[in-house]
Amino acid sequence: MNRITELFNSGKKDILSVYFTAGYPSLNDTFRTITELEKRGVDMIEIGIPFSDPIADGPVIQKSGSKALLNGMTLSLLFEQLREIREYSQVPLVLMGYINPIVRMGIDTFLEHASRTGIDGVIIPDLPPEEYIEKHQAKFQKAGIFNNFLITPQTPDTRLRQIDEWSEGFLYMVSSAATTGSRESFDEKQLDYFKRVSDMKLKTPRLIGFGVSNHTTFEQACKYADGAIIGSAFIDAVSENGSLAQKVSGFLEAIR
């Protein structure tokens, strides 16, 4: 069974998914970041594929991506770095990245690598669900890899139900009209949106992301969804000085 399904079927509450940029801060941190996060109880990990032009990302993730590319990170190197990951880790792994590097590698090759590596899902913000369903879904299903869709406060209810229908893994609930980045708390309007979607009783589990950065926002998100995704705040934490292990544990203590 896909590890994402296992996770959401396990009855576990307050799921914490952490995003980090592959090849950041150092080129060879990718593998160890995963094992450190898993060791300290993170439930799911999103591995960011750095891209030169990340239009949905705010300054923090943009910068980490540029640095990773300078470090020499590539998509094919990522698969090499992760070749033995399943001998050390059973946490659900999701690749998050923009469509161009994936198309450039070739969808078939990408899926072959992902499947062999033990990747459970992807998040590709600039691949719209319609385009995915029409052209790629069959291949992803054959490879056993879930494509997890985004929803936003602007997504109309009818479309939300349609995306829910199409979903296999989880819904990535973008918390506000914004690019990625940390915020101190959620406002009334965001909480209304969380509640509205929560009341829709969708079949697909939901994780709230964008702007989740600390204990308060994590707790608020978990109240209205199955859990939350933290990206920029984690990138900020690993950008500090210190050992990776220390930075990871320090960060997680402040969240849960």
């Binding site: 032009d53 239009i55 949905a56 540029s66 469509i99 161009n100 198309v103 450039r104 719209p128 936003t152």
Partner: protein, 404 residues
Amino acid sequence: MKDTFLSNGKGYYGDFGGAFIPEMLRENVESLRKVYFNIIESDAFKKEFHDLLVNYAGRPSPLFLAKRLSEKYGAKIYLKREDLNHTGSHKINNTLGQILLARHMGKRRIIAETGAGQHGVATATVCALMNMECVVYMGETDIERQEPNVRRMEMLGAKVVPALSGNKTLKDATNEALRDWICNPEDTFYIIGSVVGPHPYPDLVARLQSVISEELLWQMKKAEGTEDPDYIVACVGGGSNAAGSFYHYLDRKNVKLIGVEASGKGVDTGLTAATIAVGEPGIIHGSMTMLMQTDDGQITEPYSISAGLDYPGIGPLHAWLAGSGRAQYMNATDQEALHAAYELTRLEGIIPALESAHALAVLGKLELKKEDVVVVNVSGRGDKDMQAYINARSLFNVNLEGRR
């Protein structure tokens, strides 16, 4: 009759186009897609748009027979004078159309990206005209090399925001404009400056710019007794002036369509913006097109002396015209463009924009016959490029001594 080379309902030109946008932009783009066609095809829109093009922008732009240039290249060369439009380029055609559309859709805040600053100025201009808030994203590099246009935008009341990522040029300005739109989905309309971006933008901008070739039809008929020239030549960055010049001729295969990209220091130097020459299929700014990129799918930083052509992608229409062989894409280096600009200035008394100079620069590379009729689209004027022209003066001392 032009259907073969226009986009289908999903915004595809052959394999190119589409709308590769994150869900955050979906409602914005979708609400535009649903209404744009009916609005711009409505009589009320057409009337108001036409009135502004004539009485505000100064259309039709003249078709001028350039006698000395013709003599030099041994063919009959006409110049389509888009440089004479209000604000100094073809960009005003598009911004007038899009701001009317924005108003129809009830939007109050306008954002735009700009390279050379021509689209930024044209956007700031129509925002002043329509009393709308205007924010223009411009790469920091371009802010430096096109300073006069920055001052014009500011005088017109626009806020010019520097884009600080990448090479700080047009691509990066477009990224920032898209991020702004993600963060301001309710009240903001994004006026894209070229035939790029997600569907429906490439089609929308091409339609608004098609006034160029619409005029060419009757101007050619009047001047030459036939609507069809042998060649139409236009420079291509994103490709809006070329799309407008080609539009009504797409199905007239007797008319050779020539797009000219900027090859910068040269196609093989790594310092180039000639996308068709060095690109591979890829996705940039919401559209599948030809794209300058690495083997890993990272978008390559382009280079050209011309800020308006300094873009690693190209409109999907052009990717398709190139792929299908309907149009031919040539290129010109910085040097060749500078030379062509001096040449036009001295032969015809017209200082072209650096962008347009690239189109002029291929005249010597076409195998022209004496009876050939060539239309070159002079997309903009050179006021903004005076510093580059002055800097380059020493290069041309020998062959461009003042004439008596």
